[in-house]
């Protein structure tokens, strides 16, 4: 008896050991952080695409454009030299080094996500039950990638010209998630081809009505295609896809329903918004710094509701902008029906289809004027119609991230728009068609990009 007692510890130790050694495998595969997960299903991919970062849009086009000006004090009190430089169209050091969230990162981070999603989709079995969702996710990822590339082309490339696009520099087209692949700049033609291919591929995959406006949809892809062709000055295609877009949704916000006295009268995700991409205003465009030129303010008629809805007269008589499509201060650069209306009108006018062009414009403008006070616009020549339409485009799409590209592409049509900034006693000019309309790349990337 006593002998067994003495042997008991030995037996016990042996038993426990053999039991424990067998359970090792499970033990080593336990995740170290429970909230970590590997990508296994469509929900994971959708969750990545629903990240707010996917919908963030760049600031550089608006900072570089002429919708506002800075006072000497406002410019001097800017903390970042890069912001100061961007305002005066400097030739280098206009983007914060990469650790900060500069526009390059803002654009290429969603591209990485889109590529990751596209690659992981291939590992997920398609079945009868998940096919729609699978397609939707693929369409979303393609649209996100295209819209990011389009933004990059607006900032860092010259305006598209079919005659030079084969030789002009485009942007790096990253189509795989592997970050070790070196970045090479494609030609401008390849850049636009890629954008068009992605968008065209996405159209049949996307739903007509998205779950929410932060997700790409069929009309969003049509709208983006229309914008792309407009920027390429391929007006017939721009018209075609503007039409396709408006065929799905042509709703306009009636500004008569808005309360102009509120801080930001235009609500977020309103019926006009098809696909939202946005950014906050940053240091430069914040209303305490960015002031609206009086000429812009005065271009709005007293009875044009936009005068009250878009602008705030400050105590010091300076004018600030409050016409954000976000319901708070910011810039919405996604697809909104007002842009598509204006694109359609422009393309029609360029096609000498004066009546229809003016009709589209009137449908649009009626919702912007005080009820009953709007008098229909009329034009006798296509040039006159075009001038009116472009004037209205300038007025409607303030702080919507369009103006920079509009200047570039219109200069290609001999609009001869030069920009001027005055600071203290110094005058900075950006002559029409200057190569500086393509912004310099972030300085810290110069070693990488070929």
């Amino acid at each position: 008896m006593k002998k067994t007692v003495k042997k008991f510890p030995l037996i016990a130790i042996t038993a426990v050991t053999s039991f424990l050694i067998t359970s090792c495998e499970k033990y080593l595969n336990e995740p170290s952080n429970k909230s970590l997960a590997i990508i296994t299903n469509l929900e994971d991919l959708q969750a990545l695409l629903d990240h707010t970062m996917m919908n963030s849009s760049p600031l550089a086009p608006e900072i570089s454009a002429d919708n506002y000006y800075l006072t000497d004090d406002g410019w001097e009190s800017l903390e970042l030299e890069t912001d100061k430089n961007m305002y005066i169209w400097a030739e280098n050091n206009v983007f914060q080094p990469g650790i900060e969230l500069n526009d390059w990162t803002r654009i290429y981070q969603p591209v990485y996500y889109a590529n990751t999603v596209l690659e992981h989709l291939l590992n997920i079995e398609r079945s009868q039950s998940n096919n729609l969702k699978w397609q939707d996710i693929k369409g979303q990822a393609l649209t996100f990638r295209a819209t990011c590339f389009l933004d990059a082309a607006q900032i860092w490339c010259a305006a598209y010209d079919a005659s030079t696009a084969e030789t002009e520099l485009g942007i790096p087209l990253r189509l795989q998630s592997d970050f070790n692949i070196p970045s090479n700049r494609a030609t401008l033609q390849e850049t636009y081809n890629q954008i068009i291919d992605d968008l065209k591929e996405s159209i049949p995959l996307l739903p007509v009505n998205p779950v929410a406006k932060n997700r790409p949809s069929k009309p969003a892809a049509y709208g983006l295609l229309s914008r792309t062709y407009l920027w390429m000055r391929d007006y017939s295609n721009a018209l075609r896809y503007a039409d396709s877009c408006l065929m799905v949704t042509d709703e306009l916000l009636d500004y008569n329903d808005l309360i102009p006295s509120t801080a930001f009268p235009i609500p977020r995700h309103n019926p006009e918004v098809i696909f939202e991409r946005w950014t906050d205003l940053g240091q430069v465009l914040t209303s305490s710094r960015a002031k609206i030129p009086l000429s812009i303010y005065l271009s709005f008629d007293e009875e044009d509701l936009r005068r009250e809805i878009f602008f705030q007269k400050e105590s010091d008589d300076q004018i600030t902008f409050k016409g954000s499509y976000l319901g708070f201060a910011g810039i919405v650069s996604g697809i909104v029906t007002d842009e598509i209306y204006l694109t359609k009108a422009e393309c029609l006018a360029r096609d000498s289809n004066i009546n229809e062009a003016i009709q589209v414009l009137n449908t649009f403008l009626e919702k912007r004027w005080l009820k009953g006070s709007f008098t229909q616009v009329a034009a006798t020549s296509s040039n006159e119609a075009l001038a009116i339409i472009l004037e209205e485009r300038r007025k409607q799409l303030l702080f919507r991230g369009h103006r920079w590209m509009d200047i570039k592409r219109l200069n290609k049509e001999d609009a001869n728009i030069s920009l001027v900034r005055t600071l203290k006693d110094e005058i900075y000019t950006l002559p029409a068609n200057s190569p500086r309309f393509a912004l310099p790349l972030p300085d810290d990337l110069l070693g990488y990009l070929k």
Binding site: L28, S32, N33, L36, T52, D73, G74, F179
Partner: protein, 1081 residues
């Protein structure tokens, strides 16, 4: 001597002859059975003396006792002299005869200072004499010469090779033998209590429970700990009872009193200068964008007065100017001294009992700490511990240890630098009370004049009241920790022990922060989200009331170890080996949440919609209300096999080897790269035991050499692409996730290989003893930040196994007994370490100078090939411009003020000035113990040499935007010619961030950090010694102790203490005086 062999061996020396003779004799002996069996015990308590050396004089015969204190000896001569010796005991000689069969030897414990040092690695205990590795041992007496609530703060002044790095880490980080990694979160040593790494907060442990501390320095010592041992291991051994011991009571109590911190150490800009700057900025229209800003950001009282002054009448102007001049008189440091700071009082009580019968050994202890800090912050800790060892029969030992800690802390008042915008920034003339002592409010986020104008009734008071606000905040934490150890040790065969050890720990930490409805935090939150309704009334989105933050985190650790120990001693051979298997699991789960509109009286709270944004009252953005709610669950699993063996021959030659394989779930989700082997080899030679060694000055000399590897890992590294869910998209109402780890197939463990050569010695009749160790190490596959082309979309950097580094150094430990008379003694203890680390391989793709310059006083990891991990670089300085006082540097050898180039692409790494490392290359301590009769005095200096730090100075950008000044402003350039006497740039508006960064990173602000500090002074009087027998105590000592006594020498001429220098707001810790009693009965 056997005559038959003698003739054949005439040519052999006598030594060899003896050896061969014994060899043959032992064969003969098998037939003759002429052996002596003996047992050596301690005279005082009959405990076996393990590892005692038994030597036959005038021969090479030598054996040592086994774990039961027994030895067997084959003895040929009819008569001989035996010498029995062991460290810590008086050597004994006795005569034996051929017919002696059994001996019972009682060794007396030695009264001289040399005690047997048993080193504990956490896996085994081994006598230092027989080890090959580099250890440092801190005994109980040395450990208790300092007084503190915690354990680790005492090590810096008494241990070898250890330093506390305060140049790269604001809290101070223990480093042993320098740096082995490029990741600051992977630099700490592994801390082991008794047998297992301690997962809980080390502050839980009562220092009065500590018996001794061993520091494992080299590979042979530490590699048994495998994947976590690269930075060294600190093994804390707690007090245990022993068998057959009468009850022993220890009582220890002390009170520590700290002075009020001296705020004059803060280099604050004077109020008058600050106001001058504000007036200049105001007249340059600097504040216009703020005055008109939609954020309504707060303006300082002077700016508000200047605004009023613009439209004031001449008499009002005079009044305003007077008010402004009055503000010049105030200094916020006086306000802090008066309202916030006080002396600190810490009390400590500890009672310990020990005893043992022949079957049971036990310890029971209880401790209480009650601390009140300089800011009235409170800390209370209660410790209870019960440790039992039970021997139901001779071959089985059961042990248990239960330890419970409860501690409670309450946050105190705001410290200097914790009041103002972002709880940091405030103008220097701020006052906490007015002349009548009434609380004075400060506008820190919004302009009060604007706040009062909103809506019909105005929003809630938007002022911050420094002298009152802390009374409205109740923040604190409660921690409960229970630690349970169980052990079974079974001895089935002689020399073989099977050991099972289990540890369970559960630590729960509850943190609670209650900001009542009067607190600024609550009022600010309610106001920010207030909306003005159409009727002009204020609508509160965040409900009126207090804010309650709660968090709860639970740590659970389970450790299990199965180990077999083998010990065999025969003739002149000792062999020990251990082998085992181990499983460690540590899980931390936490959750945190917030209630708005909370009322502590009746526990009511309000409801808030977290799913939508609201426009901010003092701004133009819309924001979500912070829900401050979350949950997390992290697990670290380790699985290891280990083995260790050592062999000693004739007490002269030892070799050791160890091996270990670790696997963990940390690289998770993929099984590759989980297992990694670590190993070590060591040898030692006890030179003084050789008979040819006859130097009479040297009584002991041992040479050691080891080589081996150990590892290091970062729990946050994961090999696979992983995503993390971070909430819900407010429009789709579906979960959103981001990618938090990008697949990297090359991820591996970091590995450090170290070679160590050591020498232990005792000279001049023990008057001088010590050790010298030289080590070389190389760390490979280190995690480093690789700079990436961020077109890849994963950011500009990624952490990969990209770097290698090497290090070398010397550790010297020297103890001298300068005077050792009966009445008076003076002992000195010197620790000296020299260590250099150097990056060997690190591909930096971006060599812009600014990447290597930290413009704060906290050094940054530079990772430059051939330079230390933390290297201090600076921009070359070309002096101030003689005509403008602007700082100047060099661009392509030309003097330049193009700051964007100077701090950008124009200053490459090669253009920078290299000063040296941020960590000391020579450091250590010098302790002295003087004793006269019952009175003893101990004091120790700590020194650090060979490193550099970056001094703070005026940053105009920070001054303009954040109210951060610096006293260097007084010495700024003001007139042509000043550039000869000063390097402080002129005050110019507008300023540029780059200009300020250039000055902050320039060479004129780098200083040598070398210094010597008097770490502590301890005076004690022992009543027991003189009055033994007359008092009911064995020992009764009263002591006075002083610490934080400050610097006795420093290289910088600016009065800066480099160990207490971060930002502009760091105060030096004030001196602390302790009074206490230690009794033993």
């Amino acid at each position: 001597m056997h005559p038959n062999y003698l003739n054949n061996l005439v040519f052999i020396t006598m030594k060899s002859l003896w050896f061969i003779l014994i060899f043959y004799a032992s064969i003969i002996h098998v037939q003759a059975q002429n052996a002596i069996w003996g047992k050596v015990v301690r005279d005082s308590d009959n405990q076996p003396v393990i590892g005692a050396t038994v030597r036959v004089l005038n021969s090479d015969i030598l054996v040592s006792t086994n774990e039961n204190g027994e030895f067997r000896l084959v003895f040929l001569s009819p008569k001989g002299e035996l010498e029995i010796s062991n460290i810590g005991y008086e050597t004994m000689q006795l005569s034996v005869f051929g017919n002696t069969k059994a001996l019972h030897v009682r060794l007396k414990e030695s009264t001289t200072q040399m005690e047997e040092i048993v080193i504990s690695t956490g896996y085994e205990a081994l006598p230092r004499e027989r080890s090959t590795g580099a250890f440092d041992h801190i005994d109980n007496e040395t450990f208790n010469k300092q007084v503190s609530t915690d354990i680790l703060s005492r090590l810096e002044a008494v241990s070898n090779s250890l330093t506390v790095d305060r140049g790269t880490n604001s809290n101070g980080r223990i480093s042993i033998r320098g740096i082995n990694t490029l990741r600051s979160d992977m630099m700490g040593p592994l801390i082991v209590i008794d047998n297992f790494p301690y997962d809980g907060a080390i502050e839980n442990i009562n220092p009065n429970d500590v018996e001794n501390i061993t520091i494992l320095k080299d590979a042979a010592a530490a590699s048994i700990w495998g994947a976590r041992a690269a930075n060294g291991v600190i093994v804390i051994t707690t007090k245990k009872g022993s068998f057959n011991q009468p009850i022993n009571v220890d009582f220890n109590s002390n009170i520590r009193v700290g002075k009020v911190p001296d705020l004059s150490y803060v280099q604050q800009m004077s109020s008058s200068d600050f106001i001058d700057v504000e007036q200049t900025l105001f007249s340059s229209n600097y504040y216009n964008s703020q005055i008109n800003s939609a954020n309504r950001s707060a303006l300082s009282p002077v700016v508000e007065l200047l605004i009023k002054r613009q439209e004031a009448t001449p008499t009002e102007i005079e009044e305003i100017d007077q008010l402004i001049n009055q503000l010049r008189m105030y200094d916020i440091r006086d306000e802090f001294s008066r309202h916030m700071y006080r002396g600190s009082v810490d009390q400590q009580y500890s009672l310990g009992l020990r005893g043992g019968s022949d079957r049971l050994a036990w310890t029971a202890s209880a401790g209480l700490d009650n601390n009140t800090g300089n800011l009235d912050e409170r800390f209370q800790r209660y410790n209870i511990r019960l440790n039992n060892t039970y021997k139901p029969f001779d071959k089985l030992i059961l042990s248990s240890n239960i330890q419970y800690t409860h501690s409670k802390s309450i946050n105190g008042r705001p410290a200097y630098g914790e009041i103002g915008r972002n709880n940091q920034y405030i103008y220097p003339y701020a006052r906490f009370t007015d002349d009548d002592g009434n609380p004075q409010g400060l506008s820190i986020d919004v302009r009060e004049s604007w706040a009062k104008s909103i809506g019909n009734s105005g929003v809630l008071d938007w002022m911050y009241y420094p002298s009152e606000d802390y009374k409205n905040v109740d923040r604190g934490a409660k921690l409960d920790d229970i630690l349970l150890n169980l052990g079974v040790n079974y001895n089935p065969l002689p020399g073989l022990h099977l050991d099972l050890k289990y540890l369970f720990e559960r630590q729960s930490n509850i943190v609670r922060g209650y900001f009542n409805d009067q607190s600024y935090v609550a009022r600010n939150m309610i106001n920010r989200f207030s909306q003005v309704g159409e009727d002009g009334n204020i609508v509160h989105i965040v409900p009126y009331g207090g804010i309650l933050d709660r968090s709860n985190s639970v740590l659970q650790a389970n450790n299990l170890r199965l180990q077999s120990n083998f010990y065999k001693s025969w003739a002149a051979h000792h062999f020990t080996a251990i082998a085992g298997w181990e499983l460690r699991r540590s899980n931390t789960s936490s959750n945190w949440s917030r209630l708005y509109g909370y009322n502590n009286e009746n526990l009511t709270f309000g409801h808030v919609d977290f799913t939508r944004t609201y426009p901010i009252l003092n701004g133009v953005v819309s924001q979500f209300i912070d829900d401050n709610t979350g949950i997390s669950d992290n697990t670290t699993n380790f699985l290891s096999y280990f083995a260790n063996a050592s062999y000693t021959f004739k007490e002269k030659y030892s070799i050791s080897a160890s091996g270990r394989r670790d696997a963990s779930n940390l690289f998770g989700l993929r099984t590759n790269d989980q297992w990694n082997p670590f190993w070590s080899l060591g040898a030692s030679w006890n030179l003084s035991e050789e008979s040819f060694f006859t130097n009479r000055f040297v009584s002991y000399l041992k040479l050691r050499a080891t080589y081996g590897s150990s590892g290091n890992i970062n729990p946050s590294m994961v090999a696979a692409t992983t995503i993390q869910y971070v909430g819900t998209n407010m429009f789709t109402q579906s979960p959103i996730a981001y990618i938090n780890n990008f697949y990297d197939s090359g991820l591996r463990w970091e590995q450090t290989n170290m070679a160590n050569f050591g020498l232990d010695f005792r000279l001049l009749n023990q008057r001088v003893s010590g050790s010298i160790d030289v080590f070389l190490k190389k760390s490979t596959d280190l995690f480093g930040t690789a700079v990436l082309d961020y077109t890849g979309g994963i950011g500009a950097t990624k952490i990969k196994n990209v770097a290698d580094m090497k290090g070398r150094g010397v550790d010297v430990g020297l103890k001298t007994q300068n005077i050792r008379r009966t009445e008076f003694s003076w002992f000195t203890n010197l620790n000296l370490s020299m260590v250099k680390d150097e990056v060997v391989e690190y591909h930096l793709s971006n060599l812009n100078g600014s990447n290597f310059i930290s413009t704060s006083s906290l050094a940054r990891i530079s990772g430059v090939k051939g330079k230390p991990v933390y290297a201090i670089y600076s921009y070359r300085w070309a002096g101030l411009d003689p005509s403008t006082g602007e700082p100047r540097g060099y661009l392509n050898e030309e003097v330049s003020t193009n700051y964007s180039q100077l701090t950008g692409a124009g200053s490459q790494l090669k253009d920078l000035v290299y000063h040296g490392p941020a960590n000391p290359t020579v450091y250590g301590s010098l302790g002295n113990s003087l004793a006269y009769k019952s009175l003893s005095l101990d004091f120790a200096f700590v020194y650090k040499f060979g490193h550099y730090f970056r001094r703070q100075s005026i940053n105009y950008q920070q001054l303009f935007t954040n109210w951060v000044g610096h006293s260097d402003f007084e010495n700024r350039w003001q007139h042509a010619g000043d550039e000869i006497i000063t390097d402080v740039p002129a005050f110019v508006y507008p300023t540029a961030a780059n200009k300020n960064n250039f000055y902050a990173g320039s060479e004129v602000l780098v200083e040598r950090a070398d210094h010597i500090r008097l770490q502590y002074l301890n005076l004690s009087y022992d009543f027991g010694k003189a009055n033994r027998g007359k008092l009911p105590f064995d020992n009764l000592a009263l002591f006075v102790n002083a610490s934080n006594l400050g610097i006795v020498w420093r290289a910088n001429k600016r009065g800066i203490d480099p160990d207490h220098y971060f930002g502009t707001n760091r105060t030096a810790p004030p001196a602390i005086y302790a009074f206490g009693v230690r009794a033993n009965l």
